[in-house]
Symmetry: C5
Subunit: 324 residues, 5 copies
């Protein structure tokens, strides 16, 4: 796959030219033009080229190269450097996380994708189809990509909530199992990962809305508040699921104990029933010389009948007490 | 059901005219007039019409169309956009949530209802019957609707507290059951939902009281503090119920264990009682040639009597120890 | 009981006259006079009368009528409205909560008592006996009443701490019981209620000390800091008790399990002891033609002796292992 | 014991005179002199005398008389009133708490000791031996006493940490016992008490460093930061111990359950072993006319051998499964 | 080992001279020179020498001598004193903590190493190889050492996460054991220690970036933000691991209970199977005169067959119920 996915100059919301990386400086000298570049896991040389074209800071470039950053926003002089984490459910119902980095300057936007994530070509197309919005500058392009990243979290969180519902059903309708406990643990782990990926977004949007007025046109602020709002919503959904999960873990545990208690009761009940014939048999197994019952002609069937009747009475007693 | 429930112009607290949507711009040009519109699940066209009449922001209209927002307040230029969640107990003793959106401008108030919630016609009537208050402008109308929404949470929270009391009684008076555990879980879930719906209200009222002095007349501020106060109260009731519920879950668990322990003790006690005749019977079942007792004439009745007495002694012993 | 408990005008710390409600306006025109009124569950008409005399806000009067408010402080123009919760232990060792509302203006103080609480006549007497302090104005009278309310919480919290100590002793010295678990739960509930009643006081005192300098003479500030300090102390005592209670619940649970474990061990130990004679008896109950022991003259007493000795050995073994 | 432990005037870091309480006013008129008084559980008259000499506030004197305050700092006009809690391990390895109150003015320091605590004579001596430091004024004397109070918490916290280590060892190496659970609870209680005594110190030092520049010479600020730092360290140690203790409680509980599980397994294993001879004996105790084995000459020894072998096999089986 | 590891003067990023401690004052008089000294567990005399050369504060020198400080930053006049904790995994897979203290002045940096930690010679070499960066002054040298300290935490946290994964596997695949519980406890303890060591770093970096602009060149700020970012990341990893560990402890506990429940069920199942032949044997051991089966020629083999078949049926029944 190509490292440079797209590199174009825009003016008044319209794509005016596809540009080569080395020509960027030239393009940037024109007023009201901005350049939007999309990179995918770029090599070190490529990043150095980009660094030179836009005068980016060493530390930002270093971060952009080694992915595995936490989501953050940092200002280096006139440039903002943003790191976001992307998420997608894979076919095995696990979450694949990726990373996208942004360099935003007065007249440029560079996006750097790492790991699993969709290309932003579609986002670019959507932007180009609404030139009145894209005309607001690179701030709007930044919004469009960030928005598409955040929107990809909703199906992820929905999947986790479905998983939670499945766990609830297992807990309350099936027998307690090791597997359910392991699923609870796994879900907790995934919720924590999503939370770690999304919660810094709230602060990032806040910063973009409030402090970076130079790079983000004021009329674009409302759009970042929209992302902010989505981030808070995802955050709340995750927190909610976490709290429910903790309660589910406790409930699961109570149910294991109740189930254990039921086993004990059942065992006690049957032990009592079996104790009856054991007792009787033991009794008439004694070798006393004078035990009149043993001599009766119908002693044996009588005792057998008596024993079975007693068993049934004991059974009914425990049944009524709810132990059997 | 009609999409437009009500659309009227007010001046000095009095309804001066019912207006058609398309005539609104005309009405708004008159001084000290404001328009109050009530919509119910409006179509996209209807919302676009409203957007044009009041120059509303795209993002707000988009939110108003797709319900399922979290409660929030947002300022778009001169207009405030508010989202609230409404709640009602249905006949199955579950909570039905709905949503109401507000657009508030210098001389208009638009309410958009979604999902289950009462119509605000009654609120409107009450407002119209106190023109000295409604004369304070669209801010008071906003208060009146918000107040009626918040007041509907009190019966909901009361129902949840009743449910909590019912659970407590079950825990402390009945035997531990799977059903109680499930009810605890369900109540927790509902409390979390109410909390999510109500807690943003505190921030919303704060914002309305402090920052939006242009749209909300200063003499109306005290009314929003009233809603603020109610929101805090509901919040506290929910937090309280949650903490008690957590303790109830723990207490439930302790009681399950105690109950399990009692079963063990009972089982042990009866096992000990039954062990006595079993032992005796086994003993006199031995085939030794010289066992004098076996030859006694009253050996059998003597042994039976002895056994029964021993059983009674063992029984009393365990009774005293509290195991039976 | 009369609705108006007391209604007097004060000047320079001295009671100058008992006033009728309808004459208040007249009195208030005199410089350096203030009026202190004590009401007890007033009727709606009475409250309306008061409202007219002092020009109070509708919402405050509404709150003062329907008790069941949360503790709060609110400013309506020149008047402060304060709600406090009062608490007392009743004879059944439960907490009775009441409510007292205050209207404080430039030259008046109105207290409105609801539900169970002591009359403030004694507070008034104490104030009147220190005219140099009461001379600081209605702010000092407000302090005196609030202080007496807060001081009534100390015996309540002491009673709850005594209850906690009683629970601790039960947990660590007695057998685990359902009753202890229920007491823990009840104590938790009461602690939460006290917390809800007291914690808003911190904020209320803060507001009185900082922002309402017009109504509260600066030299009175130190007194409100004193209440603030008491509120914090009660709060800390409650938090402490709550955390200990949670640990007590956990400890209780551990002890239930240990106790359960001990039952199992005891049962296992006695089962082992009884197994010995059962085995022996079963063995010599076999019908083999050639079992030499059965023919021995002293076989029977020998086996009995052997069995009893074995039982004793087994008993001592389990004793040493700590199972019996 | 004398109420006035020490009462001396200092100038330029040197003790210039021992003063009588009633002569203090006279001494204070001299420039660059300050008076340092040490009281021990003073009577009410003594405190009134001190109040008059230094013009102290009623509420502060009241607090100083009734000990049992929470640690706090309060400013009354030109004077600061500080309450600290002191702690010492007694011979029974429990913590004895005491209280020390400070009145700090422009040229005086009064310390009032209550309950168990060391006298500050040693601190005073140390101060007098470094006149260049004591020359910084009563602020340094205040620091010296506060520092000695805070330093006495380190051995206390060390003792609690040693206790925690002892509990850990008991949990992980010994059998679960009621005593360990009770020790955990007691340690938790003591940690909470230390926390309550130390955590307000952070705020107190902060206030002394930032706001009270008049009474505390700027060059003394660094010293209070030192106390601040110690308070934070003690706080952290306590929080750490608390969190570990909570985990220890949980771990203890897990181990109780494992131990319970082991008892069950052992019991099951031995029951299985004993079941073998019981079965065999029962079988050959049947009275069928035709049971060839009963007639064999070596039937009895053969069956006994077979039974013992079976028992051994069952034993080995359970041994391998880890149940025995 | 030598106490003075390194002591050199730098100008414009180049090492211009190795200096003796006593000559430092002389060197410092030269413009744009700074001195970088590395000490290792210095003696008290050495520290006093350093104190005199750089006019350091008594309290800072005292702290630097007694290690065992918590990480902190303190300003003494023109000098900053920083304490950091270093961490390394030792061969026994435990964490060795050390301490490094920094004195930073207008033209000097003194590092004081205590306990286990790598020498900073390598860091110094790396700095000297990039004179354009080291030219930014002692601020950059400070960054370089701090960065190397923070970077050493990543392998430590990785090792702890590996340990967590190992524990998870044990919990979910093996049988519950005392050892796993102890490992969970140990890991918790280590996580708390790392947290205590790292979390103050966030505040330290914040302070360095914002307030100490005199000593830290503005262009160096970005570098401290980098450390800040790493500290937050380590913090998050630790918090994450802690929360997962708590859940693991709970899950472990659930699994112990399930396992206990399985033992009970197995025991009950086998007890039921053994009850069959016991019953039958007891029955035909009765001594009734008239029991026709006993007389049948094939009574014995018939009964044996019947018994074995019944046992198999009972076995299959429990197998199906999942108890065996």
């Amino acid at each position: 796959m190509n490292e440079v996915i797209n590199c174009a100059a825009y003016s008044k919301g319209l794509r005016v030219a596809n540009v080569e990386l080395k020509d960027i400086k030239h393009v940037l000298q024109q007023d009201d033009h901005f350049v939007w570049i999309g990179l995918h896991e770029p090599s070190e040389e490529m990043l150095n080229e980009v660094q030179q074209q836009f005068c980016l800071h060493d530390l930002a470039i270093e971060d952009a190269h080694n992915a595995h950053q936490r989501p953050k926003i940092e200002t280096y002089g006139e440039t903002i450097f943003i790191v976001l984490r992307t998420a997608q459910m894979n076919e095995k119902h696990h979450i694949d996380f990726g990373e996208t980095h942004f360099f935003v300057g007065a007249n440029f936007l560079v996006t750097v994708r790492h790991g699993s994530s969709l290309a932003y070509t579609e986002v670019r197309n959507r932007c180009e189809s609404t030139p009145q919005l894209l005309g607001k500058g690179q701030g709007f392009a930044l919004y469009a990509v960030m928005d598409s990243i955040v929107d990809q979290y909703f199906p992820v969180v929905d999947a986790l909530e479905t998983e939670l519902t499945a766990i609830e059903e297992k807990i309350f309708s099936e027998k307690p199992s090791r597997q359910t406990t392991e699923q609870i643990y796994e879900l907790k782990r995934e919720l924590l990962e999503v939370k770690r990926a999304v919660s810094p977004l709230i602060d990032i949007c806040n910063r973009l809305m409030r402090f970076d007025k130079k790079l983000i046109a004021e009329e674009t602020q409302a759009y970042f508040r929209d992302i902010y709002d989505h981030a808070i919503r995802i955050n709340e959904m995750v927190d909610n699921a976490r709290e429910l999960l903790n309660t589910a873990l406790d409930a699961n545990f109570s149910l294991i104990s109740i189930s254990q208690s039921e086993v004990s009761k059942k065992m006690a009940g049957w032990a009592a029933i079996i104790a009856v014939p054991t007792l009787v048999a033991g009794f008439y197994g004694m070798n006393f010389r004078f035990m009149p019952e043993l001599e009766w002609q119908y002693g044996y069937p009588f005792v057998v009948t008596l024993t079975i009747s007693s068993c049934i009475i004991v059974y009914l007693f425990f049944r009524k007490a709810g132990w059997l």
